[in-house]
């Protein structure tokens, strides 16, 4: 599996992603410039990552402008053709704005940016990111966002629940869903979801920030391993 990491002018987790995919996981990875539309040699067996950051400054609404960029038109076509797309933090916001994932990410309940380690529980194994993990397993992964409160109308949420599209929920260290363990007021504690076809995944926590022994936490690496092990998804 090869990777393309989209670089918007205000992306700031692009280098982190390239480091983890390339240096840590040993994958072939290249950057995709926001003004381009060419995806090069990426096929639908490959994965495009939308990294964290502030795409175009995000002064309007996180990801609101990025969806109109040239590269996003190619990403949308790539996703519709079945290619893997993984949005993290700002990437998740952009996927929602672009309509590749349902719902939206609202400003955190506390109206503040929050950066800290949180716990998320694996809710469904039916996605490339979670296929090799255990349901109910709690991972410690940091968040860093001001707009991470997942919201959608009831029908959409119900459908996500029924289809098992909710991949991660905020929980405590023991995997319990408690009011205190929801860091931003997300509906149903949602931390990450996938689309109905399960090839597009968005999540607010940053697994690339905890994928190396030296950083004292390797929980994030499990998601990368799962993704690499799941070259063809069987649902």
């Amino acid at each position: 599996m090869k990777f393309g990491v989209v670089v918007f002018p205000g992306s700031n987790c692009d280098d982190d992603m390239v480091h983890v995919l390339g240096t840590v996981m040993g994958c072939e990875v290249k950057k995709l410039w926001h003004k381009d539309t060419d995806l090069g040699n990426l096929s639908t067996q490959d994965c495009i990552v939308l990294p964290g950051g502030f795409s175009y400054g995000d002064y309007l609404r996180a990801g609101a402008i990025a969806r109109f960029s040239p590269i996003m038109q190619s990403v949308i076509n790539f996703a519709k053709a079945g290619g893997y797309v993984w949005g993290i933090c700002n990437g998740f916001q952009i996927l929602c704005e672009a309509g590749l994932l349902p719902g939206i990410l609202l400003p955190n309940e506390q109206q503040k940016f929050i950066c800290k380690n949180v716990w998320i529980r694996i809710e469904s194994l039916q996605s490339p990111l979670t296929a090799t993990l255990s349901a109910g397993e709690a991972l410690k992964i940091p968040i860093a966002h001001a707009e991470g409160r997942y919201y959608a109308d009831k029908a959409t949420i119900d459908q996500l629940e029924v289809n098992g599209q909710i991949l991660f929920r905020y929980c405590d260290a023991n995997g319990h869903i408690t009011p205190q363990s929801n860091p931003n007021g997300s509906l149903h504690h949602i931390a990450g979801i996938c689309n109905a076809n399960r090839n597009v995944v968005g999540m607010m926590p940053h697994p690339e920030r905890c994928a190396e022994e030296i950083l004292g936490n390797t929980d994030g690496r499990k998601l990368f391993k799962s993704l690499l092990a799941t070259t063809r998804l069987t649902v």
Binding site: C13, G52, I114
Partner: protein, 743 residues
């Protein structure tokens, strides 16, 4: 003359912040009467902020040489230290106090933006930020407004810019009620030999302005920063700049990419005094001049006057001198990043700055005469020993009763905003982006940031307890340096160099100047001992409030930003106790000292007492010892004793893993001094019982005294057999108290 200029007079000069004598000097240097634009140029360049006229004499006494230094202090925008493997570290700290006191959000945000620009203008990529904040009483609604604004400003700017905020400090004291302090530090990495100088070499080379457009914001900001804050200061709101971190992120990437093309001869960011400062400093450094066409500067609004363009402090701009013939390579990069890049003039060999507007020469001044080290005035101010020292010398610890209920005292201390966790603040900062922050999951006394592709990490901290400096400027500043070094050593690092941010009152007040002079002397002596030369920094005078009841300077606050090197990451030492039954030792001298402690102020209401016990040589020996213990693998944790004393230090080591401790105090000492005193040069370490004998054998051969305090427990806190409860209750207060105070 089509550009009509205001008539110049002494009154105008005074209004611009110059003195009568300085106005005479300007006339003398020019050999004629300056016009308004020229006078404006002199006034900002000779402002305290740009010229360091009241501080430079003393700053030059600081140790500025060292084997690791790649540039001398003051020579470039920031200090540059060799860290091996072909890499260098650029770092600097700077204040943004006055803007933040008036408009906390933008003031703090642009402080962060400005200091990062100082780093990447040299060609270094910023990899970490720290900040040192001083606020007044958080019970005051206006202060809470300032605190929230400053923290959000720092967060929003740094988070978007994409550089982690990895460390810093926050203190609260009523002396900052009207004049808060916001000091921001940036640390960057660059390959040795790939830095770009802030010079304008090569007459004929084109001069570009790149980045944001120039607007009317921040005009006379440098002058504003060089005057007392008064009740009328809010009227100076237009002097505060507005920041755009997205623009800065583009400017960062474009600047580093442009440097890679080889087209850049020199570059300087535009901060205080904007185009005026960058053109004059770059020219003066190279002995060249510049011809600048102000009408070619991209502006945000029409009809800007020449002096407005020259003095604008609009953010996110750089002045670039390019190699003639390579303009296109430069322009291509800035076009890629959708940034303005306009050729506005050229380097000349005249030594003069000639500014034109629509073909007309609007100002013609000699570059050399404007700058620090050139013609800018240098003053030695008078100083007298402050009157309040009498009150300090009257302090008698024997009149302070030793409390009977220590648990209650400790519990009260755990409700001091100065003691409790600052997580309300730091969780609003992205501390992990760039994935190098080792201290997220392995906390230590200083922030540890790995350098990818090497086995090394940078260790960094900011430190200053201004209560100590107020009590004794000389000793208090030595302590600030010693504590910074101690934090780095306790993290496994080796101190390398210092940047300083000197926040003081009005230099024309002889008592304030006394504080300044002795603080510099203390800093110099301590920096020599720790072999940490001062690479640069920033002086911020006029931090005081002029109100109806007179003038009140802030406590002298010479913030020390120190960078150290962790030569091998395996030597990274953390501060948390690791497991029950590990032994706890206190290294360093125990004394009967309660002076200047948070305990003395909070519990006994005593605000005048001498600085705590401190011995420079003993401190140095202690740090050498800690360094050896880490490298020999003899200890499990190391944490220094600072605010709140030994008890707070033990708690901080215990709470991280929700462990406790069972310790005995030493009877020969006052129990309050033992638990809450802040005498310096002490470090708490924990030891695996299996190597305790080895440790003891080792310590017996060293000259540092030590006490075995007790053991780590599963969570119970016991002092001299008295049950202080379970760690969880204390942790609850520690982590959430500040949140409660601020909301």
């Amino acid at each position: 003359m089509s550009q009509v200029q205001t008539e110049v007079s002494v009154d105008i000069a005074l209004k611009l912040g110059l003195t009568e004598e300085e106005f005479e000097m300007v006339k003398c240097k020019l050999g004629r009467m300056p016009n308004f634009t020229e006078l404006s140029i002199f006034s900002v360049m000779w402002s305290e902020h740009c010229s360091y006229k009241n501080s430079i004499f003393w700053l030059k006494t600081l140790p500025r040489e060292g084997k690791h230094l790649l540039v001398s202090a003051g020579e470039e925008n920031a200090g540059l230290v060799d860290i091996g493997q072909g890499l260098a570290c650029a770092f600097k700290i700077e204040s943004h106090n006055h803007p933040s006191a008036i408009e906390p959000y933008q003031g703090a945000a642009t402080g962060v933006g400005g200091i990062h620009r100082d780093i990447f203008t040299m060609g270094a990529r910023p990899i970490a930020a720290l900040n040192s904040l001083r606020f007044g009483d958080p019970q005051r609604p206006h202060m809470r407004h300032l605190i929230k604004g400053v923290v959000k400003g720092i967060g929003d700017y740094g988070n978007c810019f994409g550089v982690p905020t990895v460390g810093g400090e926050v203190y609260f004291d009523p002396c900052y009620n009207q004049n808060i302090l916001v000091n921001a530090m940036s640390v960057g990495i660059v390959e040795v030999g790939k830095t770009v100088p802030a010079r304008a070499d090569g007459p004929g080379n084109p001069v570009f302005i790149v980045g944001a457009r120039t607007g009317r914001d921040g005009i006379h900001g440098a002058t504003f920063a060089s005057a007392d804050l008064t009740e009328d200061s809010a009227k100076d709101l237009p002097s505060v700049q507005v920041g755009d971190p997205f623009q800065e992120k583009l400017l960062l990437e474009a600047s580093l990419e442009a440097i890679g093309t080889g087209a850049i001869v020199g570059m300087q960011d535009m901060g205080a005094a904007g185009i005026t400062c960058s053109t004059s400093e770059m020219s003066a450094k190279s002995g060249t001049g510049m011809r600048i066409y102000l009408d070619k500067v991209p502006t945000r609004e029409p009809d800007m006057k020449p002096f407005e363009i020259l003095l604008s402090e609009s953010q996110e701009r750089m002045l670039v001198v390019a190699q003639r013939g390579q303009e296109e390579a430069l322009m291509r990069v800035f076009e890629k990043w959708d940034l303005e890049c306009a050729e506005i003039g050229e380097v000349t060999d005249t030594g003069r700055l000639e500014y034109y507007m629509h073909g007309e020469l609007v100002a013609d001044v000699p570059a050399h005469e404007l700058v620090l080290g050139g013609g800018a005035p240098v003053y030695q101010r008078e100083y007298t020993k402050p009157e309040y020292f009498r009150k300090i010398s009257k302090f008698n610890p024997h009149k302070i009763d030793v409390p009977t209920d220590f648990k209650e005292v400790a519990w009260k201390l755990f409700h001091s905003p100065n003691i409790v966790s600052k997580r309300w603040v730091y969780e609003q900062y992205d501390s992990m982006v760039r994935i190098n922050t080792l201290t997220t999951n392995k906390p230590s006394d200083a922030a540890v940031v790995r350098i990818k592709g090497t086995d090394k990490a940078l260790v960094m901290t900011t430190d200053c307890n201004s209560n100590y400096v107020f009590a004794d400027p000389y000793k208090g500043t030595m302590i600030a340096v010693a504590e910074a070094a101690r934090n780095i050593v306790c993290s496994g690092g080796k101190p390398l160099a210092v940047t300083n941010c000197l926040n003081f009152g009005n230099p024309y007040n002889p008592e304030v100047y006394w504080q300044f002079v002795f603080a510099i002397k203390g800093m110099g002596d301590a920096c020599k001992q720790f072999q940490t030369p001062v690479t640069g920094g920033n002086v911020s005078f006029y931090n005081q409030t002029v109100g109806k009841d007179g003038v009140e300077p802030v406590h002298p606050t010479p913030t020390i930003g120190m960078v150290g090197l962790l030569e091998e990451i395996k030597w990274h030492m953390t501060l948390d106790f690791k497991k029950p039954n590990d032994s706890i030792f206190l290294l360093g001298n125990v004394t009967n000292d309660i002076a200047c402690s948070e305990y003395l102020r909070l519990i006994h209401g005593v605000h005048f007492s001498p600085a705590p016990q401190f011995n420079l040589l003993e401190e140095y020996e202690l740090q050498q010892l800690v360094n050896k213990l880490i490298r020999k693998g003899l200890i499990q944790s190391a944490h220094d004793v600072s605010e709140g004393g030994l008890f707070v230090s033990l708690m901080e080591s215990a709470m991280i893993r929700s462990l406790g401790f069972d310790i005995e105090t030493v009877e020969a000492f006052r129990k309050d001094a033992f638990l809450f005193g802040e005498s310096q040069g002490r470090v708490v370490v924990s030891v695996n019982p299996e190597v305790e004998d080895t440790l003891l054998a080792f310590l017996s051969r060293e000259h540092v005294s030590f006490v075995r305090l007790g053991e780590v427990t599963t969570g119970q806190l016991i002092v001299d057999g008295e049950d202080f409860g379970h760690v969880s209750a204390w942790k609850q207060v520690y982590e959430h108290h500040l949140n409660e105070v601020l909301n």
